[in-house]
Structures are given as C-alpha cells and as structure tokens.
C-alpha cells in the first residue's frame, strides 16, 4: 500500500513538474514579443508596483518579467486570482462558466463521436457484408467529411436554429462529426490488427467469450484514440463557439486576439494546458491499468 502510494505520488510529482515546465515555456514564448512585454510592463506598473523598477519599461531587464511570472503563479495557485482586466474584473472568471462551457462541448462532442464510431465499427465488424450496414457506415463517413465550418453554416443559415437547447446539441453533433471519420478509421485499423493476432485466433478456437477477452485491448486503443483526438476537438470547439456566438473560451480568445489582451491569452493558454495535461495523466493511468504486457530494455 505504502509502495503504491509512493509510486502514485511520484507520478503526480513528475506530472506536476511537467505542467509547470510547459507553462514556463509558454510564458517564455510570450516574452519574445516586445508588444507583449510592453503590455505586461503596463500591468506590473499598474497592479504590482512593488515589482516594477524605475525607468522606462523598454529598458527593464528580463528578470523582472520572470519575477512577475512567479508572483502571478503564486497569486493564481494560492489566492485564486489570475490578474485583472482593464475594467478591473478578475480574469479568474475565465475558469468558471466559459471554461465549463468549452469543456462540456468538447467532452460531449468527443463522447458522442467515440460512441457513434464504436457502434459503427461494431456493426461493420459484426455484419461485414450486410448492405444496409455498409450504407449506414458509408453515409456517416461521408457526412463526417463535412467540416465544422460547413456544418455550422448549414445549421445557422439553413435550419435557422440558434436557440440554446437545440443549438447546444447541434454544436455537440458538429464537433463529434469532425472527428468521427478519424476515430472510425483508427479504431477499425486497430481492431483489424487485433483480429490478425494469434491470441484472437486462440480465443476463437477455444470458443471463449470474445467481449470479455477483447475488453482490455480494445479499451486500450480507445483510450489512446480519445486521448489523441481530445486536443483536436478542443480546437474545433473554438471555431464552433465563434461561429455560433457561444460565450466560452473560444469567443474570449478571439476577442483577446482582436483587442491584444495578452494577459487574458496567457490565462487561456494555462487553462488549456491544464486540461490537456489532465487528459495526458488520465491516459497514462489508463494505460497503466489496462496493459500488463512487459517492456524489455536493452
């Protein structure tokens, strides 16, 4: 038990350090641009005068910005404050409703796509030469070639559906639709690979319960697929939110881009990084649980 806790603790420590490293690198990238440095300098002068040295912001050493970075991280993690907008609002509101909205859209879209793709793959694997099944799968595939833009365009201007409950459903469908083709494709490749393994033939020859035996390998490739598709769906959410005018991270990002609100961009970056990091950790844990096969190192 103690050993297990220690191992899990080490895992989370490693993962946390990775997260910190990624955020630091992102901040370093932010600092390359002089415009952003100016914005941050203005913010420091206004809100954290203790950190600001004298003189023109243009001549400040880079160390000041890094000091601000740690100050900002401390504020974020210990006081729950992510800095202030020009109108005095705390930027932590981004982690509330907008973040929830984006996450919900992405997760439901992904769940829909994965479920539908699994169903389609199951149908096609079970009845490989039934015409209606192949028509169904092919029509879904053709439809999922339609990108978010076109899908949302159809919905917006064709069906004129912009009221909340239905619109949200359609957003989810649009999002899932975008990755459906990919998921079907990847899943089918993996399952075909499993079908050609010797152990699958052994299971068949023994007349064993195939669902029980294939739960782990198929679960393993499903988690991998979901993990690789998650950032894609997240990116898609941003476009869809903008097109459908949903108040969420996507819309906020576009506004920040237009208004050159750099601190807001930084906060959004950190939020997205945390989400993707959590998905990485979950994927790792799932792999850990599901795959008992050994790895040989030379």
């Amino acid at each position: 038990m103690v050993k297990r806790i220690r191992q899990l603790g080490r895992l989370f420590l490693q993962a946390g350090l990775l997260l910190l490293a990624v955020i630091t690198v992102e901040y370093a990238l932010f600092l390359i641009s002089p415009a952003i440095r100016e914005d941050i300098a203005a913010y420091i002068q206004r809100h954290v005068p203790a950190l600001a040295p004298g003189g023109e912001p243009g001549s400040w050493p880079i160390l000041v910005y890094w000091k601000f970075y740690f100050y900002w991280l401390g504020e974020l993690f210990f006081k729950g404050s992510a800095g202030y907008q020009a109108n005095g609002e705390n930027l932590i509101y981004l982690a509330g409703a907008p973040f929830r909205q984006t996450l919900m859209l992405a997760l439901w879209g992904l769940a829909l796509a994965t479920g539908l793709a699994s169903l389609l793959v199951f149908l096609r694997q079970s009845w490989p030469d039934k015409r209606p099944v192949s028509w169904l799968v092919q029509s879904f595939e053709a439809l999922s070639g339609v990108h978010y833009i076109i899908f949302c365009y159809f919905v917006l201007y064709g069906l004129n559906l912009r009221r909340p409950p239905l619109a949200i459903l359609i957003l989810i469908i649009a999002l899932g639709n975008g990755v459906l083709l990919d998921i079907v494709h990847l899943l089918e490749t993996e399952i075909n690979e499993i079908r050609h393994t010797r152990y699958y033939q052994g299971i068949r020859a023994r007349g064993a319960n195939r669902f029980r035996h294939l739960a782990r390998p198929v679960g393993l490739c499903l988690t991998r697929i979901v993990y690789t598709k998650f950032p894609v769906v997240l990116g898609g959410t941003f476009i869809v939110e903008f097109i459908m005018n949903v108040w969420a991270l996507g819309l906020e990002t576009i506004q920040a881009v237009v208004k050159h609100d750099q601190l807001k961009l930084l906060v959004i970056t950190v939020l997205i990084t945390i989400v993707v990091w959590v998905s990485t950790v979950l994927n790792y844990l799932a792999k850990w649980k599901l795959d008992p096969r050994p790895v040989v190192r030379l």
Binding site: R4, Q7, P292, P294, V295, V296
Partner: protein, 343 residues
C-alpha cells in the same frame, strides 16, 4: 593455434518492466552469465540449449548488435565489445550472422537479385559485369535456380529463402558465420538438404561456423565441439565424439541426449524421467534461477538420486576436466565415481 574469436566472462542483463495492479515491477534478467569460450579457425562450434537460454543473445553480441553488460570479446585478438557500429564496420566482412527467421531478414519489396546486388556493392563490387558474374557464382554456390533471382521473398519456400539469405551473406565473403537455428522449423527433406549445403560450404570456402541450435541430434552429426547452455550459462563443453565415450557428462546434457535420441528412434519408450525438466514458474523470471549453489539442481535427477548433497546447495559448480577437452560444470560429473560419492 590462434583462436579467431575469444569470449571472456561475457554477461548480458536485460531490464524488464511490467505493470500490474497499479504497480510497476522492474527486474533484471541475466540472459547470458559469465560465458567464456574460444573458436578456432575452420571449426564448427555448436551452441545447444533450450529457447530462452541466451543462445541468440550470445550470437548477437558477437556481431555487435547487442552490447554486453560485462566481459570481453576478442575478434582476431582485437577487443570489439566496446566498438561503435562505425568502428565495427571494417570487421563485418569477417563475421556475419544468419538470422532465425529467413523471411523477416529479407526486404519483402525487393527481388532476390536486388538483395544480392546490394550486398555485393557493400563488398566493393561495382562493375555491372562483375556483379552479374558474382551473382551467377553465388547462386551456383548455394544451389539456387536462376529463375529465383527475379522473385520476391514471399514467393520463395522456406528452404529457398534460407539459401537466399546465405547467398546474400556470402557475398560479403565472411570468414566466420553465426548460424542461428539454421534448420529449425523445416521439414525433414529440406532440413537435410540445407545441412548438406552448409557442410559443403564449410568445406569449400573454409568457413568457421558457430551453429546455434536446440536439436542435439543434428548438431552431434556436424559439430566439432558442442557447448551446452542452460539459463545463460555454459554447463558443458563436449569435444567431437567425446560425448558419451568417457561416460561423464552433465545431467542436463544427458536429458537433452535422451530426449533427442528417443524422439528420433522408433521404439516406443516412456519419457517419465523427463517430467523433471518441465520448467516451473518462479518469481520474476521465467526460468528457475537459484541464488546460491547449482542453478540446475531443481531439475536434476542426479541431485535427487544422491540425496541432495550440501555441496550442490551451497557452492556453485566450476568447470571440471573429465577427459581431454571435455569440461563439465557439475560437482558430480559421474555418480559411480567413488571419489565423489556423497558423504
């Protein structure tokens, strides 16, 4: 005579990691432990053992594909175990390896001719006329029919594929060949033909062979010297035809001989003594690996017959010379020997 290969105290550890119940287990498996032997020019040295006894790893270490954990390999007196691939490159014309799975070692999208041309270009034959001639010679050497040259590896039969591999490797004109299970999983007829071919090449080209196999019956017929490996360790070194003449030997070799002999004769015999060698599970590793004493003792009929002596349990055995050039790593190479009767 100067040995072409000298292996001294060679060991190889693999680290194996697996996850189970939210826990990560790591253990080190010693595939080859403290192996020393030497190979003399023109010799056929056989290495015999079960699968998982480290034969293939040993072969790969000699052609610098696996880096040894410790120990030394001298090739013509030159230590090679620490050489990088590039430094080892000039030695590749000296020593070559034929791999176990002939189909996997050929590129399925290249014809046999392309394979041979590629190998010849490595041997600095660049003139197209010379290449054509060399290909002719090689196909004659390994007795391939010329129409095979235009075919792809997956159109070949198992025997043909092995010959193509052999031709490809012979194009580099090696002096030493490491044959990793050259006739395993072949049918009787083709097995015999390939063995004949290999022996003919050995005669004609004056090659040195290191013949890795699990079948004592074949090896006994062809080899000059046999090393018996078990769990990464050499248990016995048998000189040519010296196997049973002096009546001594390691109990493991005895089991191997009995099994091979009984499988290759028609008499309906019972195999009940062989139940002892069936491998049993132990923690971490797949094969039994005792920390102290003789590693083999849990499978050893002789150990049980002579009343589980303390010597076997406490001390790891060393090589004993039982007759000329015949070394056995056993405390009791011959149990009727009055000197070593247990107290």
């Amino acid at each position: 005579m100067q040995p072409v290969i000298e292996v001294q105290n060679l060991s190889k550890n693999f680290t194996i990691r697996y996850r189970e119940d939210w826990r990560v287990y790591t253990y080190s498996k010693q595939a080859v432990r403290n192996v020393s032997f030497s190979v003399f020019p023109g010799e056929i040295l056989a290495i015999v053992g079960e699968s998982g006894s480290g034969k293939t790893t040993l072969g790969k270490m000699m052609v610098n594909l696996v880096r040894p954990s410790s120990g030394q390999i001298l090739l013509n007196g030159q230590p090679v175990q620490r050489l990088s691939q590039r430094r080892f490159q000039p030695l590749r014309h000296l020593i070559q390896m034929v791999f176990q799975n002939p189909y996997a070692s050929l590129n399925p999208m290249m014809t046999v001719r392309e394979h041979l041309e590629e190998a010849l270009r490595l041997a600095d034959v660049t003139d197209p006329h010379a290449i054509e001639q060399e290909i002719q010679q090689l196909t004659q050497l390994v007795k391939l029919s010329p129409q095979v040259l235009t075919e792809y590896p997956d159109q070949l039969s198992g025997g043909e594929c092995r010959r193509v591999n052999l031709a490809r490797i012979l194009a580099r004109r090696p002096r030493i060949l490491i044959l990793d299970e050259p006739v395993a999983s072949l049918d009787f007829a083709i097995k015999q033909i390939i063995v004949d071919l290999l022996l003919e090449l050995h005669q004609k080209l004056g090659l040195t062979y290191i013949w890795i196999s699990h079948d004592l019956e074949i090896v006994q017929a062809v080899a000059h010297r046999i090393l018996v490996m078990f769990d990464g360790e050499i248990l016995e070194e048998i000189p040519r035809d010296g196997s049973r003449r002096d009546g001594c030997g390691h109990p493991y070799t005895e089991i191997l001989f009995t099994a091979a002999h009984r499988l290759h004769t028609w008499e309906q015999e019972d195999f009940s003594t062989l139940g002892a060698v069936l491998p049993q599970p132990t923690a971490g590793t797949t094969m039994a690996s005792r920390e102290r004493g003789c590693r083999f003792r849990s499978f050893c009929q002789r150990y049980r017959t002579i009343g589980r002596p303390k010597l076997c349990r406490e001390t790891p055995p060393r090589f004993k010379t039982v007759s000329q050039n015949h070394l056995v790593r056993c405390h009791f190479p011959w149990i009727e020997n009055p000197e070593v009767t247990p107290k």
